[in-house]
C-alpha cells in the first residue's frame, strides 16, 4: 500500500470521527439548553463551543452565545474552519484520494452522506431542522462504519482506517472530560450540585454513553463513576481504555503485516502498560487533569509515530 494511501485512510476516518463527535456534542448541548431558562441556556451553548475547542474563533465573531449562532457556527460557518460540513468534506476528499483502496459500498456511503449534509446545510439550519441534521450526520457516520466493517479487506488499509478512528476518539474523549472537569463548572462549590449532575449527564450523552452507564450503575450519576466508566471501562467503545486496547491490536496487526518493529508499536505497548496498571484511585490521586494531558500527549505521539513508521509523507 502507498504511504499516501495509508495517510488518506487514516485521516479519512479521523475526520469522520471528528464530525460525529462534534455532532454528538451539539446534540447533547441542544438537549441541555432546552431544559434551562434563557441565561442558563447561554451557558450551555458556551460550554458546547468550549468543548469543541472553538471558543476563540466563536468569540471573534459573536458577542453572545445564542443557540442558532452556535449550532450554525459549529455546523456550517465558514469562519469556523472545523465546521462539521467542511470536516465531512475532508472525509470525502480523503475518500476520493483513496478511492481505489476502499470498497464501492464505503465510497457510496461517504458520498451519499456528503450529498445529504450539503443539502441539509445549504441555508442556515433552523431549530426545527437541527435534530434531523444531527441525525443525518450520525447516520452518515454509521453507514460509513457499517460499510467498512462489512466490505473492506482486513489488510493494512483496514488497520490504518481503524487507527485513525481510535486516535481521534481517544483524543476527543480526553478533551471533553478535561474541559468538563476544569472549565465548565463556575467554581468547585458546584461539585455535586444539580448543575454538576446535569453537566455529567451531558458528557455521557455527548459520547453516547448515557444508556450503557445507567445500565451499569443503576441510574446513579456520580463523577467518579462516570470518569471510571469513560476512562477505564474497556467494554465501552468510547472509553479511553477501549481506544487503547483496540489501537494496540491494530498496530500489532500492522507490525505483523509489515514484518518489522516500529516506534509506534513500542510507544503503544508502553502506554498500554501504564493504562492497565492504573486504577480510578490513581487517576484522582495524580489529578484527572494531569492524567488526561498525559493521555493526550501520548496519544498524539503514537499518531505521529504511525505517520513516520509507515511513510505517510515523503
Amino acid at each position: 500500500m502507498l504511504g499516501r494511501t495509508a495517510n488518506g485512510l487514516f485521516w479519512m476516518f479521523r475526520y469522520l470521527e471528528r464530525a460525529e463527535n462534534t455532532a454528538r456534542l451539539l446534540d447533547a448541548g441542544l438537549r441541555m439548553a432546552l431544559t434551562r431558562d434563557h441565561t442558563d441556556a447561554a451557558d450551555e451553548w458556551r460550554s458546547v463551543i468550549v468543548a469543541s475547542g472553538q471558543k476563540a474563533a466563536y468569540e471573534a465573531k459573536f458577542d453572545e452565545y445564542v443557540g442558532s449562532d452556535v449550532w450554525n457556527f459549529i455546523l456550517r460557518d465558514r469562519d469556523n474552519p472545523a465546521n462539521i460540513l467542511s470536516t465531512f468534506e475532508q472525509v470525502r476528499t480523503n475518500a476520493r484520494l483513496v478511492r481505489n483502496a476502499i470498497s464501492t459500498e464505503l465510497w457510496e456511503a461517504i458520498n451519499e452522506g456528503w450529498m445529504q449534509l450539503r443539502a441539509d446545510m445549504v441555508r442556515p439550519v433552523a431549530q426545527g431542522n437541527l435534530g434531523k441534521v444531527v441525525a443525518d450526520i450520525r447516520r452518515a457516520g454509521m453507514q460509513a462504519h457499517g460499510a467498512m466493517q462489512n466490505s473492506i479487506l482486513r489488510d493494512a488499509g483496514f488497520h490504518f482506517a481503524r487507527a485513525g478512528t481510535l486516535v481521534e476518539r481517544g483524543d476527543s474523549i480526553a478533551r471533553i472530560l478535561d474541559i468538563k472537569y476544569y472549565l465548565l463548572l463556575p467554581s468547585l462549590s458546584y461539585v455535586g450540585s444539580s448543575l454538576d449532575k446535569g453537566q455529567w449527564d451531558n458528557v455521557l450523552r455527548s459520547v453516547s454513553g448515557d444508556r450503557a452507564y445507567r445500565w451499569l450503575h443503576a441510574g446513579q450519576i456520580d463523577a467518579r463513576g462516570i470518569v471510571e466508566f469513560l476512562v477505564l471501562d474497556e467494554r465501552f467503545p468510547r472509553s479511553l481504555a477501549f481506544c487503547h486496547s483496540d489501537l494496540r491490536d491494530n498496530l500489532a496487526a500492522l507490525e505483523r503485516i509489515h514484518k518489522n518493529e516500529v516506534l509506534s508499536t513500542e510507544l503503544m505497548r508502553k502506554a498500554d502498560m501504564r493504562m492497565n496498571d492504573t486504577t480510578i484511585d490513581d487517576v484522582f490521586e495524580q489529578g484527572l487533569h494531569q492524567f488526561l494531558i498525559d493521555f493526550i500527549n501520548s496519544n498524539s505521539a503514537i499518531a505521529a509515530a504511525i505517520s513516520e513508521d509507515y511513510r505517510f509523507v515523503d
Binding site: L2, R4, N100
Partner: protein, 475 residues
C-alpha cells in the same frame, strides 16, 4: 459527403420503419410503459451522482463536480458493421505506431517525400528526447481513441486520432453498468458484446509492454495529476478495476535506477506507468522544471529500459490535425494498402490554394486549430454569426498554418429519450484500442457522445454533450 446525404438516422429509415440493428431494442422499447421510462430517466442521474462519476470543469467559480449527461437509449452497431470498422481501425493504429517509430528514427516517409518536414518541425508535441529511442516492445500508442463519425449507411469517417491520452473509457464502462442495472431484461432479449472486460484487457496489454528491468510479475501503476484533475474519477476507476496502484508524482522517485513508489513498507519498483499526466509535466529535469506532478529523472530511467511509460512521451505528435490531414498517405506508406477508413476531406490552410478556398467558403466549413482539442478554438461556419466569422477570418489570415478546415458533415443521428419521447440527435463514436507486442485489441463498443441540443453538431462533454451506452451486437 455531407451534400450527398440527407440526414442519416441510425435507428429509423426515412419512411419511419426501424433499421435491423435496432429491431431488438425497438421491440423492447415499444412494449414499455412511458411513465416508467420517465422515472428510469430520472433515476439514472441520481445513480451517477452517488457513484461519483463526475468531471470537474475548468474555469467554474467553485471546483464544481459535474455529471456528463447520460442518455438511456443505446447506440447500436451491427456485428458486420463493427467487423468492418475494426479492420479499418487496426490498419490505422498500426500505421500510427509505424509512423511514430519512423518519425523518431530514420524518417523514411519524409525522405520519400510523402509528408513534409513541417509535420514534426512545427509540432508542439514533438520531443527531441525520443529521437533514436525505441520504447519497450516497440509500442508508442498503448491506448488509442479513434473518433469516428458516420454520414450514411456505409459511410464512416475518422474525425480525429487521440494517441496522446484518450479519455472517456470509464464512461463506456459505467454507461453499460448503468444500463444493465436499469434494464436487466433488455440484455437477455438482445445479444450485446461485453465491454466490461476492458480493464482486464488493458492490464494485460500494459503488462505485455513491461521493460527489460522487470523482475517477476510486472507492477503496473496509473499516474494521475491528482483529485483536482477533471478526469480523476476515471484514473481512480481504471486503477481500481485493474487492481493497480493509483499514484501521484509525489509517490514516485528514482531509486537505484528504477522508478519506485513509496509504500508503507518502503520503496518498491514500478514497471509500467499508465500516465494520465502530459509530457510537459512528466519530468521536471527534462521538461517543465516547475512541474510538481512529475518524477525527476524518470526520462533517464525510461531511456535506459527501467520503466515503460504508456503512452510513450511524444505520441501527441499524432493528435496534430496537420498530421491527421496526411493520414491517408501515412497509412498507405506503412501498410502498402489503401486506407479502409477514410479521413474527412481536409483543407490545410498552410497551403495557399487551400487557404484561398477556405477563406471563400468560411460560412460552409468547420475550421479547427491544428493543436486544439475539446471543441475549443474552432469555427462552425453554418451556425456562426457574420461577426463571429469575420473575427475568425482575422485569426486565420494572421496564422494560416495553425488551421485546417473541413466540410460541415451531416453527422448521423440516433434518438435520445426526452419527456416528449424519442427525438434524433447527432452522435460520434470513440472506440478504444489497445496496442501491445501481442497485437491490437479493440473492445467491441466505445464511447458514443451525443449533442443534446437539437441540431447541434458539437458532442464534446465540455460543451454540453452527453453520452450513451454503445452496443455492438453479437452475430
Amino acid at each position: 459527403m455531407s451534400e450527398d446525404h440527407a440526414k442519416f438516422d441510425e435507428m429509423y429509415e426515412p419512411d419511419g420503419s426501424v433499421r435491423s440493428a435496432y429491431a431488438g431494442y425497438s421491440d423492447w422499447f415499444t412494449a414499455q410503459d412511458a411513465n416508467w421510462l420517465k422515472r428510469k430517466h430520472r433515476d439514472a442521474e441520481t445513480s451517477f451522482r452517488k457513484t461519483g462519476i463526475t468531471f470537474n470543469v475548468y474555469g467554474e467559480d467553485e471546483a464544481e463536480e459535474r455529471l456528463i449527461p447520460f442518455d438511456m437509449v443505446p447506440r447500436v452497431i451491427a456485428a458486420a458493421e463493427w467487423r468492418k470498422l475494426t479492420r479499418g481501425i487496426e490498419q490505422r493504429v498500426s500505421a500510427l505506431n509505424a509512423f511514430m517509430h519512423d518519425l523518431y528514427h530514420r524518417q523514411e516517409i519524409i525522405r520519400a517525400g510523402r509528408v513534409p518536414e513541417r509535420l514534426f518541425r512545427h509540432n508542439n508535441a514533438w520531443l527531441q528526447q525520443m529521437v533514436g529511442f525505441t520504447p519497450p516492445g516497440g509500442v508508442y500508442t498503448h491506448i488509442v481513441g479513434i473518433d469516428l463519425v458516420r454520414t450514411g449507411p456505409n459511410d464512416w469517417y475518422v474525425l480525429e486520432d487521440n494517441a496522446r491520452t484518450p479519455s472517456g473509457v470509464s464512461y463506456m464502462l459505467e454507461n453499460r453498468e448503468t444500463m444493465m442495472g436499469m434494464f436487466p431484461e433488455l440484455f437477455s432479449q438482445v445479444g450485446v458484446e461485453t465491454v466490461s472486460n476492458y480493464p482486464r484487457r488493458l492490464a494485460k496489454s500494459l503488462a505485455a509492454c513491461a521493460p527489460e528491468a522487470t523482475r517477476g510479475k510486472p507492477n503496473v501503476a496509473v499516474l494521475t495529476p491528482g483529485i483536482y484533475n477533471s478526469a480523476y474519477f476515471e484514473h481512480a476507476f481504471l486503477a481500481d478495476q485493474m487492481g493497480a496502484e493509483l499514484v501521484e508524482g509525489s509517490d514516485l522517485r528514482v531509486v537505484d535506477g528504477r522508478v519506485q513508489m513509496r509504500t508503507t513498507k518502503g520503496y518498491e519498483p514500478v514497471d509500467v506507468i499508465y500516465r494520465r499526466v502530459d509530457d510537459d509535466y512528466l519530468d521536471p529535469l527534462t521538461f517543465d522544471p516547475n512541474s510538481v506532478l512529475g518524477i525527476p529523472g524518470i526520462m533517464d530511467v525510461y531511456r535506459s529500459g527501467g520503466v515503460t511509460i504508456a503512452n510513450a512521451p511524444g505520441t501527441g505528435v499524432c493528435d496534430d490535425k496537420a498530421v491527421y490531414s496526411f493520414m491517408p498517405e501515412i497509412v498507405e506508406f506503412y501498410t502498402g494498402e489503401k486506407p479502409l477508413l477514410p479521413n474527412v476531406q481536409t483543407w490545410r490552410c498552410a497551403d495557399d490554394d487551400s487557404l484561398a478556398y477556405v477563406l471563400d467558403n468560411l460560412e460552409e466549413l468547420v475550421v479547427k486549430e491544428v493543436h486544439g482539442s475539446g471543441g475549443y478554438g474552432m469555427l462552425i461556419g453554418p451556425t456562426s454569426s457574420k461577426k463571429e466569422i469575420a473575427k475568425f477570418r482575422k485569426k486565420l489570415t494572421a496564422n494560416p498554418t495553425n488551421y485546417i478546415a473541413q466540410p460541415t458533415l451531416s453527422l448521423s443521428t440516433t434518438p435520445i429519450f426526452t419527456r416528449k419521447g424519442l427525438t434524433p440527435r447527432h452522435v460520434d463514436l470513440r472506440p478504444f484500442v489497445l496496442v501491445s507486442p501481442d497485437g491490437i485489441d479493440i473492445t467491441p463498443g466505445g464511447l458514443t457522445r451525443v449533442a443534446l441540443k437539437e441540431g447541434s453538431l458539437v458532442v464534446n462533454s465540455s460543451q454540453g454533450g452527453g453520452t450513451k451506452d454503445t452496443w455492438v451486437l453479437k452475430d
